[in-house]
Amino acid sequence: MHFFFEVLIGGLLAGVMYSLVALGFVLIFKASGVFNFAQGAMVLFAALTFVSLEERGLPRWAALLATLAVMVLLALVIERVVLRPLVNQPAISLLMATIGLTFCIEGLAQGAWGSVVKGLDLGIPDNTFEVQGVLISQFDLFAATVAGLLVGVLALFFQYTRVGRALRAVADDHQAALSVGIPLQYIWAVVWAVAGAVALVAGLLWGSRLGVQFALSVIALKALPVIILGGFTSIAGAIVGGLIIGATEKLAEVYLGPILGGGIENWFPYVFALLFLLVRPEGLFGEKRIERV
């Protein structure tokens, strides 16, 4: 039983990392209806920029601020160059545009900073300690705390600030928001900037775990089953979905893996999310859409 809990907790903590990437997807989807495939590339871009700036001798806080500025700039450029001309296009065109964007950002990131694997040390020791016989990684716990803080800040931002309220209005209904005078383009720029900041946090945590490298943008794909499980439009769904995917993935690897031949982590989350969708097509917290002819 101890072993079970250890795997479960390890999985939950790993799930937090997926949630962080999924959060970026959900923010953008809510506000603009764009399924942002480039979120993974943004994670890579943010982490790579931070590490490279630090390597060039900037102090940590300056590098952090500079990277944040770069992410905001990136958001503004994306809104102006990609999103604005594509308003009112079908969802598949927008999806394709973000796939194009993925190539662009990856090319940009590696062209500017090189494609060597870079180490990133946040100064958090990766020790494990025991709670009632269950081993817990200190770093994972730190990551979970950061994710919790981030969600808290976002919740406050959405609830109590003027911009946050405007964001929620846009997420609810584009046209109604426009008609009460909320500037849609400004909102999109803000939400992409926020997603960029979330990508930075995710990039730093993932990067210090695995090294800052191209694989980061591939790992981010794991956020996809998380959001279809949680529902495309729910921040809570992203968190809960991430925890469920993380936990089931690790449990499946440990208990089902030996039967099926191992390495099932790659596809299990997708199949799990798929099976779940068969029961509940709109995900855990998604909105139920009523269709009329």
């Binding site: 969802a91 545009a97 090319g107 940009l108 494609s115 279809i228 997708y270 969708l277 097509p281």
Partner: protein
């Protein structure tokens, strides 16, 4: 002036329902096929066949498959490469275990295997749609890749899962030189493209388009959802499976499962979008564009920068430009190259008069 249909009257149903109702189109198509089957094999060189024409034709076939599913039936899929892998590995295994089966029958069987797998993974489309379905199809992509890597049986227990295609022999003639492989691929692709062109005009094709345009409305007017959606998945995967078999046997020769990874799926989806959704011609144009683009970019960069670029930078610039072009295309011509072609044809009909 030359592209004018004046004087061509359709006096029978047969004439009205031809694929190419305009005489100039028929002549152009005939000329094109003549050049492709006779002219190119006579005058082409090995580089042209092996590096350009064969991959172009095979990827066009896969693009056509995805276009049937996404462009005609409206079901977005990101698992195309997985279905290609099924076709490729099935063809290898049929050839290995039952060598008495003729090659063409083998390819058809491989296509059917892919169709069966595609239908199974198409089942969720009955419950979920749109972007949810797109993510769900990723499951097939990762699962199939894992299956072929993990279980040695599929690759005849070769180390690292690489399969090497057997020699292709049809009716005693070995398909071994680039020219023969080219003609072989061209024949299969031509036949399947003709079939697709007819299929999308048939009852099945019209049902797909009705489902694409609005599935609730389609169901209300009595189109069976189950049969329509699953048949789209089956036909699409059949095309992808045959393309996968050709990819292994006629193009690469030896293949590892990673040749059919997610990037390949994206590549084919890009071809569909750039070429034009819901267009058979567009599948060929899109595939050609995406294959030629990197080559053009490389040679252009070589000419502009020479060797002044820091090594390793070039592929990144290439990737950047590639992504930028996709976005550019979506903004400027969301209906793809096929649309540009039909606009050009409209213009030609009137030229040199303004109306």
């Amino acid at each position: 002036m030359f592209y004018r249909e004046a004087g061509q009257f359709r006096t029978s149903y047969h004439a009205d329902q031809r694929i190419f109702p305009i005489r100039q189109d028929r002549l152009a198509m005939g000329a094109l096929l003549l050049v492709a089957f006779v002219g190119v094999p006579l005058f082409g060189n090995e580089y042209l066949f092996s590096a350009l024409l064969i991959p172009w034709l095979i990827l066009s076939l896969a693009t056509l498959g995805l276009n049937i599913l996404t462009g005609y039936a409206g079901q977005l899929s990101l698992g195309t490469a997985g279905f290609m892998a099924v076709g490729g590995f099935a063809a290898f295994n049929f050839q290995l275990r039952t060598p008495q089966i003729p090659l063409l029958v083998n390819f058809i069987l491989s296509g059917l295997c892919a169709a069966a797998v595609g239908t199974a993974f198409g089942l969720p489309s009955l419950r979920i749609k749109g972007l949810y379905l797109a993510v769900a199809t990723l499951a097939s992509q990762f699962f199939i890749e894992w299956l072929f890597t993990r279980f040695g049986w599929f690759s005849d227990h070769s180390s690292s899962g690489v399969i090497t295609a057997q020699k292709m022999v049809i009716a005693g003639i070995g398909v071994d030189t680039p020219v023969r492989r080219y003609v072989f691929v061209l024949s299969i692709v031509s036949v399947l493209a003709l079939a697709a062109k007819n299929l999308v005009r048939s009852r099945a094709g019209r049902a797909w388009m009705a489902v694409r345009d609005m599935d609730v409305a389609a169901e209300v007017i009595g189109i069976p959802m189950l049969r329509t959606k699953l048949s789209a998945f089956a036909v699409s995967s059949f095309y992808c499976g045959v393309a996968g078999a050709l990819w292994v046997f006629a193009y690469l020769g030896s293949v590892e499962p990673q040749a059919f990874d997610l990037d390949r799926s994206f590549q084919i989806l890009t071809m569909v979008i750039i070429g034009g959704m819901g267009s058979v011609l567009g599948s060929f144009l899109g595939a050609g564009f995406i294959i030629l683009l990197p080559l053009l970019l490389q040679s252009t960069m070589q000419r502009v920068f020479g060797n002044a670029l820091r090594p390793g930078l070039e592929p990144n610039i290439e990737q950047f430009v590639f992504g930028a072009l996709i976005i550019f295309f979506l903004i400027v011509e969301p209906l793809g190259l096929a649309r540009l072609w039909s606009v050009a044809k409209e213009k030609l009909r009137l030229w040199p008069f303004p109306h």
